[in-house]
Symmetry: C3
Subunit: 139 residues, 3 copies
């Protein structure tokens, strides 16, 4: 069994989804692992991970709009607003999406479905640098 | 350390929960792993995984009803409706449940609690074939 | 590759968040793993895991208030209320947070971000004993 780790610095342009799938595929290839497991970890609580459809970009637009209705910016009931009206909304959206995702590696490739991509979701309105750690293990 | 992988094809009968726990236990036994980790991955974005109560079926009914209120079918605010009124609702319900779950294997058995089962949740109204990949590793 | 497992019994004081980060760090140190993966699993469906901000306690208060609006106690539409008005609400809040989380171990330390803590979230109003299994593997 071998292991391989890489840390990605992802520059986001504010609220939205950054597709990390190509980077993840590159890391799996670099690891030389044929059968194993890739785990992705987001080291932030106002950005998160999500595996979602990669075909119609309207899915991601609808998703972000729905998050905006579910956990609106600037809700006067929020106590925490240290960094502005999008601060607490970002934490809430992060709480119901993922900090970590694990994807099996089968025959040297990620077992992602045809329509699946792994996204980093930036929940803050302004641009950020986000740290994502990828851990690969297997034979 | 050894590894064992199996891909399940799960036939769903439309919206609802399919209990995968018995299959998962069978795979762990087949792996011969006594101490390790089992990771389950759902290769779809309109179906997902969820560990929930296995005792009272009303819990799963309430859960599906709640999803229906949270992310209703046919909301006119959805832009994406390529496959019908349940299409975007399915993606949203998938986004807040799980693509992957990892369960430790302790003394040759999954560390699931007494009342826990692992379900594949079909979020589309029609029947589908879903691919679920199980990765087991350990000693 | 080595493995190390520990089972924690967490006594909760009713609804709220218990920070498990120090315990998790202790277990990673005890494992002697320098490069690897730590997986945390919650063996319950009315308590769950969440990686959230560790700085301003108002974030956790806002989070619990938001859960209360999203999945209210005693909603007359719930069919399942065997253990009281907080029973089904607890399952729903558990469903959208985590049963398992995996955090890479880099240079002998968890790759958690500066502001991240891993919490056990108790969703029931009364005190409970919760079982959390930690699995560490690596070199």
């Amino acid at each position: 069994m071998k292991q391989h780790q890489e840390t990605l610095e992802v520059r986001t342009a504010g609220r939205g989804c950054t597709d990390l799938t190509a980077e993840l595929r590159r890391i799996v290839r670099a690891s030389g692992v044929c059968v194993g497991l890739a785990t992705v970890f987001c080291a932030h609580t106002s950005a998160s991970l999500l595996i979602q459809e990669n075909a119609d970009p309207a899915v991601l637009r609808d998703l972000l709009q729905w998050f905006a209705r579910l956990a609106p910016d600037g809700d006067p009931r929020y106590e925490h607003d240290a960094e502005g009206p999008d601060d607490m909304a970002a934490h809430l959206r992060g709480a119901i999406t993922r900090s970590s995702e694990s994807v099996p590696i089968v025959d040297g490739a990620l077992a992602l479905g045809t329509w699946q991509a792994l996204y980093l979701v930036e929940h803050r309105t302004s641009a950020h640098r986000r740290r994502v750690v990828v851990h690969v293990q297997g034979d």
